[in-house]
């Protein structure tokens, strides 16, 4: 066995979080509120939010579930970048400065870090996010490992909205399908078992479709699953130009 890494005593430190608060039952205006919390180096931003909620202010409101980056509930904007709160370690941020946490941009804020995700889900539904095939196989369909690999990257999407709400085009034009919907379209367009690539390519050839993308790569950088989002969008653009996947 190779060298075992000793995990030493976990150091603790105090950090300041500045959180964008909004509660329409109390005020029309959003405002920043600062909290100081003692954290350990293995703690995530989600742990800090919980610590504040559980020890200082129970009204602090945010979504979360799995707490290890697979359910997609807790996308927020941390120090101006879209991240999952449960996948961002405090120690990886500059702990000497105030850490800002605010809701993802471009979707209506409901309360504190909670946004209305319905416009995002609607864009996802609009690209027909399901296998469309008329064959009636009696057993499993066959698919070569090479064909399976063509859409592997885009199957990782957890619908957290980190990509779509990092996109400057989406911020100014809420009608734009946005990167996540295109990623989910890609997942079916390049699946050899699907028979309706044309339908989705038509939908994305719309004026609010892929051509709005300005390849700023914000989405790729924001994706907590490491999906090459901009590349997927480019592949959809090429498929539209070729007229087939």
């Amino acid at each position: 066995m190779s060298e075992v890494k000793e995990i030493a005593e976990i150091p603790s430190f105090t950090v300041t979080l500045s959180i964008r608060r909004f509660d329409p039952e109390k005020s029309e205006e959003a405002s920043w509120e600062e909290f100081q919390v003692e954290m350990h180096s293995t703690d995530r931003v989600l742990d800090a939010l919980h610590k504040i909620k559980w020890e200082q202010d129970g009204s602090l409101t945010f979504r979360r579930s799995c707490a290890h980056g697979v359910c997609g509930s807790d996308a927020v904007r941390i120090n101006g970048r879209n991240r999952l709160a449960c996948k961002t370690l405090i120690k990886d941020l500059d702990i000497n400065s105030t850490i800002t946490v605010e809701p993802i941009k471009g979707l209506p804020v409901e309360k504190d870090l909670v946004v209305d995700m319905n416009p995002f889900y609607q864009a996802y539904k609009d690209i027909n996010p399901f296998l469309l095939a008329n064959d009636k196989p009696e057993k499993e369909r066959l698919q070569s490992p090479e064909d399976r690999a063509r859409y592997d990257d885009t199957t990782k999407c957890i619908l957290c909205a980190a990509c779509t709400t990092s996109c400057p085009v989406f911020w100014t034009d809420g009608q734009y399908f946005g990167p996540a919907a295109i990623v989910n379209a890609h997942r079916f367009i390049f699946d050899s078992r699907d028979e309706q690539a044309d339908l989705r390519l038509d939908i994305l050839n719309d004026k609010e479709g892929v051509w709005r993308c300005r390849t700023t790569f914000n989405c790729t950088e924001a994706c907590p699953r490491g999906i090459e989002v901009t590349k997927a969008i480019a592949e959809v653009k090429q498929a539209i130009l070729r007229g087939k996947p």
């Binding site: 066995m1 579930s65 699946d191």
Partner: protein, 589 residues
């Protein structure tokens, strides 16, 4: 006054994880169906499952459903109902094909078939050697299942009530029998109540791992669904059997799939010894989870653990090709890098058992119908998935059998719920159906004591980790029960800070704690009453399995209110195990 909305459906499904959505896919096309979930569907914890779904497809080597049945029964330490295990194994092949046909992107063999890999306790010909039975999609099989089921629900136009917390079920008498009439749900966005009536009601609410501190479970897994059933005076079965997954990231509990060992990963102690060779000489690291978890805990107890506190062991993947790790185990190796800063290509990963899965739950028969005692069916009430106990997992679930369970019995729940709804009439709704929920919420809102929900929850989780985990004794379980009794009293003196109507998660965390206290008590009490060791339930004061006295399912009932005495208001019954082909034998691997 709380605003109350009314809805009527044929089939009402509570929970939008794998079992709930699989049921909805069967029910939706044939009956007016609603799915109510405290989360947006794809946030459900099915999505965190990693390794695979068992089915004897025999795509890569010889296999049979009969071998799968045997492995399931033996893995469950013979507490499995064998008629149910036969159905699970027989219907597994179609369940996988259903998913593939819906579009699930399984990994493929070179000739294009669904690929399969090894997993703990799954063997060729009754234990001769490990067999490749797990169908998988990298190490995100649960994610793929959840996405595929949701995609199919979107395709079918299934109606969802998302971020609605079901807090009560209303029962009514029809033809002299108690039947469910509706569920009462709290809409997180508005704080308003919704009474959702249905001819059939399906529970698919998942587990309750948050009674423990170290757990692979999501924050939202607080057992509300099972808790409601308990509060209605209906029984819970085999609650003492809780699975601790061997390989949680040390200190964090985040799951690292058994697929890591299926692909060749090895557990080692601080001396570098492959210690499983001593505990399970034939299948070593691929022994069932209860055995591996106990072996790990034992290594640590005997001083062979690693780290500054010698409190974990190591999962060694360093002998695997990085390309294999990237192709087959990308997510879990990423977890090790992100959360512990450990590079699995070159460094062994610190791991320790983590609370993972409830084998017990709401008793059902093989049609997913809920039982009100050992064999009486409650018309119109169904349960499937982790919240249910059918029982295919017995005293210890095999890896990959839970993704299978939700698909096989979720589908059955949907089919039989529709069949019932087709001839049933909507049960009458009792007056003031929302009264109990209004009262429950009002109690929490108006309570002005100085106890904090988060403090009580942490104390509960600490006592469960210390006293009801891998090793248990009469003394430790009494300590847990005493602590829970104390916490119940203190729970009456909580106060919350958010009194708003919109997105009030402060209020709901307080309500959820009530369910956690109930279920922790049931688990600890059932564990105390089972004075033997079997599967995931290990009693240091009763080391052996005792088939003469305990070859039975426990059935616990709530009778009356807690009084402050241990076990007050709990009655214990027992239910025979269904045996078809396999007589209990000693369990060796």
């Amino acid at each position: 006054m709380t605003k109350v909305h009314h809805h009527e459906f044929d089939v009402v499904i509570v929970g939008a994880g794998g079992a709930g959505m699989r049921a909805a896919i069967e029910a939706g096309p044939h009956a007016k169906t609603a799915v109510i979930s405290k989360l947006f569907p794809t946030r459900s914890h099915t999505g965190a499952a990693q390794g695979g779904m068992a089915a004897a497809l025999a795509n890569v080597e010889e296999d049979s459903w009969e071998w799968h049945t045997f492995d399931t029964v033996k893995g469950g330490d013979y507490l499995v109902d064998q008629d149910a295990a036969e159905i699970l194994a027989k219907e597994s092949v179609q369940a996988v094909i259903d998913l593939e046909n819906m579009g699930l992107p399984f990994n493929r063999t070179p000739d294009g078939k669904i690929d399969q890999r090894r997993f703990g306790g799954h063997t060729r010909d009754h234990g001769k050697a490990p067999v490749r039975r797990s169908c998988y999609a990298a190490d995100r099989t649960g994610h793929m299942i959840l996405q595929t089921l949701y995609q199919t629900c979107v395709k079918l136009g299934i109606e969802f009530f998302n971020e609605f917390y079901v807090l009560d079920m209303v029962m009514t008498e029809v033809d002299g029998q108690e039947v469910p009439a509706a569920v009462v749900a709290y809409d997180l966005a508005t704080g308003e109540l919704h009474i959702v009536r249905g001819k059939s009601i399906v529970y698919a609410t998942g587990g309750f791992g948050k009674i423990f501190k170290t757990t692979s479970n999501a924050h939202t897994l607080t057992g509300d669904g099972i808790g409601i059933i308990w509060r209605k005076g209906l029984p819970l079965e085999d609650m003492e059997f809780y699975q601790f997954h061997p390989t949680g990231l040390a200190g964090l509990g985040i799951l690292l799939s058994e697929a890591a060992r299926g692909e060749g990963g090895i557990l080692r102690n601080a001396q570098g010894e492959r210690f499983m060779e001593r505990y399970a000489p034939t299948i070593k690291d691929l022994a069932p989870r209860d055995m591996v978890a106990r072996a790990m805990a034992n290594e640590v107890r005997e001083g062979r653990g690693g780290g500054p506190n010698k409190d974990y062991v190591f999962l060694d993947l360093t002998h695997l090709e990085p390309a294999v790790i990237d192709a087959k185990l990308p997510d879990i190796t990423e977890f090790a890098r992100t959360y512990l800063g450990v590079e699995p290509y070159t460094e062994p990963v610190p791991v320790f058992p983590t609370a993972h899965y409830a084998m017990g739950g709401i008793p059902t028969n093989i049609k997913a119908e809920v039982l009100s005692d050992n064999d009486t069916v409650i018309p119109g009430l169904y349960a499937a998935g982790e919240c249910a106990c059918v029982s295919v997992h017995g005293a210890n679930r095999l890896g990959t059998n839970s993704l299978l369970d939700i698909n096989v019995f979720g589908k059955r729940a949907g089919i039989y719920a529709v069949e019932y709804a087709k001839t049933a009439t909507l049960p009458p709704l009792p007056e003031n159906a929302e009264a109990d929920v209004v009262k429950l919420l009002e109690q929490v809102r108006s309570s002005t004591g100085d106890e904090k929900v988060a403090v009580l929850r942490r104390e509960l989780q600490d006592t469960m980790d210390a006293n009801a985990q891998v090793y248990r004794t009469e003394e430790s379980l009494n300590e847990a029960l005493n602590k829970i009794t104390e916490l119940r009293e203190r729970y009456k003196n909580i106060s919350i800070q958010d009194y708003g109507q919109r997105f009030n998660t402060d209020l709901l965390e307080a309500v959820e704690l009530g369910f956690l206290l109930d279920l922790a008590e049931v688990l600890a009490y059932a564990s105390r009453e089972r004075r033997e060791s079997r599967g995931g339930h290990f009693r240091e004061d009763y080391l052996d399995r005792n088939d003469d006295k305990f070859m039975m399912h426990s059935m616990l009932y709530k009778e009356g209110e807690p009084t402050g005495e241990i076990g007050a208001g709990i009655r214990v019954g027992w239910k025979p195990v269904v045996i078809t082909n396999y007589q209990p034998m000693e369990r060796k691997y």
